[in-house]
Assembly symmetry: C2
Homo-oligomer: 432 residues x 2
């Protein structure tokens, strides 16, 4: 694996550059835009994630000897293009939605202003990051509202590619999860980590009680004991025997949680463990979480459904050329005219129109159209002449994104939090 | 990003190790097994992918100063455990299904024989790789059979995490796709790459014909021209004008392909371009590919659906402790007894029972049970005392896996190729 991100892209971007260098069109100033035509799965709103991660990946988009050699040997581009790539680093401007921002169909999430040759190279990398991370964050935000204030932990690393797992943990945290099981997300992005134990740990020992005692001896009584390896009532008894009145939590990973949670709560209370919490983790999604809201569950661990976007594993964003500068210096909006795939040409500035603090529309001013009144501007600078906005990056960027998500979600009308598929919570309006 | 894979794991694996080191149980010889309880989405068979990639990732599962420092600062494990981790590299044995092999519910895809402390650490990494890569390969294999011999290219890098994109390209190739758009998959795994052009390239130029001419001038007439940016019949005309009779192909990325393909074929033929092929790429999945089989389409480009496992983005595999060695040297099968999550204890040896060269059952011999007659043994050695089987790794491993997949799929009965959800093509039988 290479640290360069330059080959995490589609071949056609390099061959388009090759052809544009040949015709001289590669230097034409262009505006590219990343947006989604709709929200996946009839969602009511989306959450932007991946931006801070993307800025770092764009910085590492450099062609070193290793990458150039492959392109030469595989005869993908001409020698002239290889020479151009050897010097390449992205020097354009990028503005876009803050990470953690709410978005809607047509929201121009990222606007790239650069010569064609530079802007075209970033297409795949931008979309890979925004499509995956935003799909996870959008699903995670639904789980957060379904949990009604009870904490959620992301535990799905094993159900997605090993590097996507880190991105998923980061995106779920931005969307309001409280922690992740993924250690690299802790190291790299400052996401709080958590963990319990697996059934294997219980089965390794001669009996359940010895396993629980070994865990409590090492990790202290505030640990979480997994009580469903054999018989749950016996498991709860053993847990209390090993952890005492200070036992932190028990975890249930199987069975009919709707009835089990109440039974375990009663048993814990009867044993004097009123403060021991109950966490559940059995293939939960936002609907299962909502259904459990009536039970005395204390927290949720979510795996597969959050890292796979709960039925919508890609956010469906596309990256399109929307304007080009003509030889006389004027800008021409461009758009594709295929049936069902219309795009809105022109450089855009989006606003969230608010009434009494509540969002009422996503208003997108095209080209030089005027900003609407009583509105929050949605674009912030992300990269200036190839230099990324430092505040959006690293663990600080993640913390800022998580906080901003809280504020942006709080502006949404109540209908945004319906779990059923339907229309976006607010309409998208173009002002030309 | 770090080159070590040691933190691409769940916190609980480290804390279980911590507790087991404390109790001394970490050295107990154990057998862990990776398997799926069912095939995702009612599939008729699965394709194993990721194995060769996984062996490299396990070799890089080392705790260096960087990783140890994080674990110390975040107070995840004790100093004694940190010292143990500093020396850690996996020294156990792994046997399992060959990459590219067909699998069924219960198939023991990977069997890890190691002391508990070593085997437990690999759980998340093993599952991340097998769950994602096999989900992609399993979906891709359905597309390959639906295409009835016409070539498929994987073009979904933009619809999955940027590193998962490389794994997806590799997995789809193993499953029978002919090429990928992903350049890193070409460089790292020897997967053939391909590409056409985007709508942006056409829109960059003053008109469609200039764009096509620039592309043909640079890439030669064998290139593929994208003809649906504006009006398709005009696009085809321009394509033929630019590429001449030797034009390689035209690409359609929108509209009603079922009627369009025939119309474009007629137009190309009438223009004298009988040898110019037609490739289509508009949100295809296995059902759309099957529906297009009656049209004169020549090849398919598949994006979102293949990299997201066509509705089943994770293969649902789990990693379980199935046996442990007792102090007297004997082996004890272990199993969890929760409702709906039963596991079969004991070390296993799987066989594909064949009659007249056709698969009739997946027969799994538990512990020392005898091998069935007329059967192909499914396990091969993958790692011996921590040293990976070199033939399974790198581009050669990918090529071998692709070839083996072809042979294993050819053994399947016809019912395996039904696209509708249903029962596995052959039953899984345990012999105890």
């Amino acid at each position: 694996m290479t640290d360069s991100t330059a080959l995490l892209t589609d071949r056609y971007e390099l061959t388009m550059l090759d052809a544009a260098l040949h015709s001289g069109a590669h230097e034409r100033p262009c505006v590219f835009e990343a947006f989604g035509r709709s929200l996946p799965g009839g969602r009511r709103y989306g959450i932007v994630a991946g931006t801070g991660r993307l800025l770092e990946l764009i910085e590492r988009f450099r062609f070193r000897d290793e990458e150039l050699e492959y392109l030469r040997e595989a005869r993908i581009v001409s020698e002239a293009t290889l020479a151009w790539l050897a010097d390449f680093r992205f020097r354009g401007d990028i503005r876009g939605y803050r990470e953690g921002e709410v978005y809607f169909p047509g929201s121009p999430l990222l606007v790239v202003e650069a010569p064609f040759g530079e802007g075209v190279l970033l297409e795949t990398l931008i979309l890979s990051v925004l499509n995956y991370d935003s799909a996870v964050a959008t699903a995670a935000a639904r789980m957060v509202s379904a949990a009604r204030g009870r904490p959620l932990a992301e535990m799905g690393s094993r159900r997605t590619g090993e590097r996507s797992a880190v991105a998923a943990a980061r995106a779920a945290y931005i969307a309001g999860f409280g922690a992740t099981s993924n250690l690299e997300a802790g190291r790299e992005w400052g996401v709080p980590t958590m963990g319990t134990a697996a059934h294997a740990f219980t089965m390794l020992h001669d009996d359940e009680l010895s396993a629980f005692r070994a865990q409590v001896d090492t990790l202290g009584p505030s640990t979480t004991l997994l009580v469903d390896t054999y018989d749950i009532p016996t498991g709860v008894e053993n847990a209390v025997r090993a952890g005492g009145p200070e036992l932190g939590a028990v975890r249930l990973d199987s069975g009919d949680l709707l009835t089990l949670v109440g039974e375990v709560r009663e048993q814990l209370d009867a044993l004097g463990n009123q403060r021991t919490r109950i966490t559940v983790t059995n293939d939960l999604d936002e609907n299962a979480i909502a259904a459990l809201a009536a039970t005395p569950v204390d927290s949720f661990g979510v795996g597969t459904s959050v890292v796979t976007g709960s039925g919508s594993p890609a956010a469906g964003m596309v990256y399109k050329l929307v304007a080009k500068q003509l030889d006389d210096g004027s800008w021409l909006p461009v758009e594709k005219r295929s049936a069902h795939k219309q795009t809105h040409g022109g450089s855009k500035h989006p606003y969230r129109v608010l009434e009494g603090g509540r969002a009422v529309s996503e208003t997108i001013a095209v080209a030089a159209a005027e900003a609407p009144a009583s509105a929050r501007a949605l674009h912030v600078p992300l990269m200036a002449a190839g230099v990324p906005e430092a505040s959006a990056m690293g663990p600080d960027g993640v913390a800022a994104a998580r906080e901003h998500r809280g504020q942006a979600v709080a502006e949404l009308p109540d209908r945004a939090f319906r779990l059923a598929a339907g229309e976006p919570a607010i309409p998208t309006v173009y002002v030309v």
